[in-house]
Amino acid sequence: MKAFAVALLVVVTACGQGKAIFNVDAFSFMQGTGTDTIPYLIPPVGSATASTVQKISLPPGFGSSVVDSVRITTGNANLENTGGSGTIGFQLFFASDSAGTYTAPMALNIPATAVTGTQTVPVVITGDLSGAVDSLFRQETVWMRIAATGTNGGATPVTGEGVLTALVIRIVLQDKVL
């Protein structure tokens, strides 16, 4: 795939200046593999964080490119709470390797959503990642960590899972290939 994508960009480079836009449906690579689900268990009067990590492969040859923008254009998750009351928020981290996502600065923060009892709460995950992660998206591989951070002010544990249902990352590059 990488080869084919780069080859096509060479075509475009030969024919005029412009931008290369990648709409990467990251969710499609996560669906059914278990990485699309983040189980959470938040103890009483406490907080907890659970994560899932996903590798994103991009076309090679963009080391000299200028990243115009990186956005999550479509992102949805369901908070399927099975007990307790608290709040759950999402944070996204990007790095060049899996371990680095645990030390990287946060690229996107989705404000906490309240959950209680047995319910499913939809959450929208969209936002601009530009600036913080531009240089990463010139590489062939980017690792993404989605963290669910919860707080529990009650006396019973908050349990459930965050289930990702859509995640599309739009990367816009000046098509400077080679």
């Binding site: 075509v11 475009v12 449906d25 000299s64 400077k176």
Partner: protein, 458 residues
């Protein structure tokens, strides 16, 4: 390796399509001012029409110079923009620069900026969009989609590199060099729809480009004959140079082609996707049969024919080259080159050796006509085809004493209309000419204008 193979395949697709329109022009500002037409009996007429060997090339007449020296005004602008002492850091020449563009550098080499750009065409902007999912791949090439051809496409060149010899009467003995390359591509329907119609790539599918490429070169001892069959009424006791050439001329040349070397590659290239599409990396498909000559001197016979008719102010000619030019290569090896997906490597298998194969040279033709109207006006045109796209030029020149005014139109290789205009002044044995012509880029309807200047020696 996989990356390199696919890049080469698709890059070839891109790079052969947007041929520069102005490549067909000479550096003669007079021709450029007439959109490319030549009113004189210059090298083009003699190159493609052997009958013109019998027609006197009268220099000194209107539009007929002994030599033309281009004035490369475009280099002034180029060196202002790219000072030689800064080439080390100039993005144009420095591959390490973020702004380095290999396509732009290649274009500079192929089309040196000798002429001055009066009006540059807007740089086409074109966004391409890729939608990628585990089982989804959609390619939207934007305006570039119009470049994806429906039919067979490619590029080629059929040139004669030298012409050495001597003549006795109407017979000419000589040796010419020839070089020919032809590269043709055909996209299969599935790939064409993906690239042109933004149809999603389908799982468990194969997409192919069929390629046929040949390059051959050699020399050809030649005997040619040109003769003036009739003398027109005006030529008998002619009191002017114009009528002195009246008559019907024929010419022919017989070539014995001695090929030095050749290579030909035929076969599909492409890629195969699985189900889901990105369950694994797409497999590269390359299965090419390559023929190469073991020994020089592929042999063949072919010829050129031409006729020209001159009657007073009217002149017309047509010449056809390389008729029946088929070379037989007696000692050829045939190899099969395949891409091994599992090993990510190429395999080469000899399928036949010391076998006989044949190649052909494409037929070229040039038809030209001109009329001098007696009031200082000369009108002419030509139709030219070197085995590929036909190019048509029509132009006129009006002279008033030392001054000349010129104009013309052309249909370029992409069937777009282009225009030229210009003028000149002659002072004794020298003339200064300027010509402006239009040309278009592939993705823009806006025409650019280029100024060429040259000195003519009469």
């Amino acid at each position: 390796m996989r990356t390199v193979v696919v890049i080469l395949v698709v890059a070839a697709l891109a790079l052969v399509v947007p041929r520069p329109v102005h490549a067909q022009f000479s550096l003669d500002a007079r021709r450029i001012g007439m959109a490319g037409v030549s009113l004189g009996r210059d090298g083009s007429a003699r190159r493609y029409n052997p009958a013109y060997r019998a027609v006197k090339n009268r220099s000194g007449g209107p539009g007929q110079a002994k030599a033309t020296i281009p004035i490369p005004l475009g280099l002034i602008t180029f060196f202002q923009d790219h000072p030689p002492n800064r080439w080390g850091t100039d993005p144009m020449f420095n591959p390490d620069s973020a702004a380095f563009n290999p396509v732009e550098l290649m274009n500079l080499v192929l089309n040196p900026p000798l002429s001055y750009e009066i009006k540059t065409a807007p740089t086409p902007t074109n966004d391409v969009e890729f939608t990628i999912g585990k089982n989804q791949l959609i390619l939207n090439l934007g305006q570039t989609r119009v470049l994806i051809p429906e039919q067979k496409f490619g590029l080629g060149m059929n040139g004669r590199l030298l012409d050495l010899g001597f003549g006795v009467g109407g017979v000419h003995f000589g040796v010419m060099g020839f070089m020919n390359y032809e590269v043709e591509f055909v996209l299969d329907t599935a790939l064409r729809r993906v690239l042109r119609d933004t149809v999603p790539v389908q799982p468990d599918s194969t997409y192919r480009i069929l390629t046929d490429a040949v390059v051959q070169t050699g020399i050809m001892p030649t005997i040619s004959f040109a003769h003036r069959l009739t003398h027109g009424k005006g030529a008998v006791g002619a009191d002017s140079l114009e009528s002195a050439d009246d008559g019907f001329y024929i010419g022919g040349a017989l070539h014995y082609y001695l090929g030095a070397t050749y290579a030909r590659g035929v076969g599909p290239m492409g890629f195969t996707v699985g189900n889901p599409i990105f369950a694994a990396s797409p497999g590269v498909l390359l299965d090419t049969r390559v023929q190469t000559s073991n020994k020089p001197f592929g042999k063949g016979v072919g010829g050129d024919v031409g006729v020209a008719w001159i009657s007073g102010p009217f002149e017309v000619g047509i010449g056809v080259n390389d008729l029946g030019a088929e070379l037989t290569w007696s000692d050829t090896k045939i190899q099969r080159i395949q891409y091994d997906v599992a090993g990510d490597s190429m395999s080469v298998t000899m399928t036949a050796n010391h076998t006989e194969t044949k190649t052909k040279l494409p037929i070229s033709y040039l038809a030209n006509a001109a009329i001098r109207m007696g009031t200082g006006t000369t009108v002419g045109g030509d139709v030219f085809n070197a085995g590929r796209h036909t190019v048509i030029h029509v132009g006129a020149e009006q002279r008033w004493g030392p001054f000349a005014l010129r104009g013309g139109v052309a249909r370029d290789q992409r069937k777009k209309m282009q225009f030229g205009f210009g003028g000149g002044i002659r002072m004794g044995s020298f003339g200064l000419d300027a010509g402006v012509f239009t040309h278009s880029s592939t993705l823009s309807e806006t025409r650019a204008m280029t100024l060429a200047t040259s000195i003519s020696v009469y």
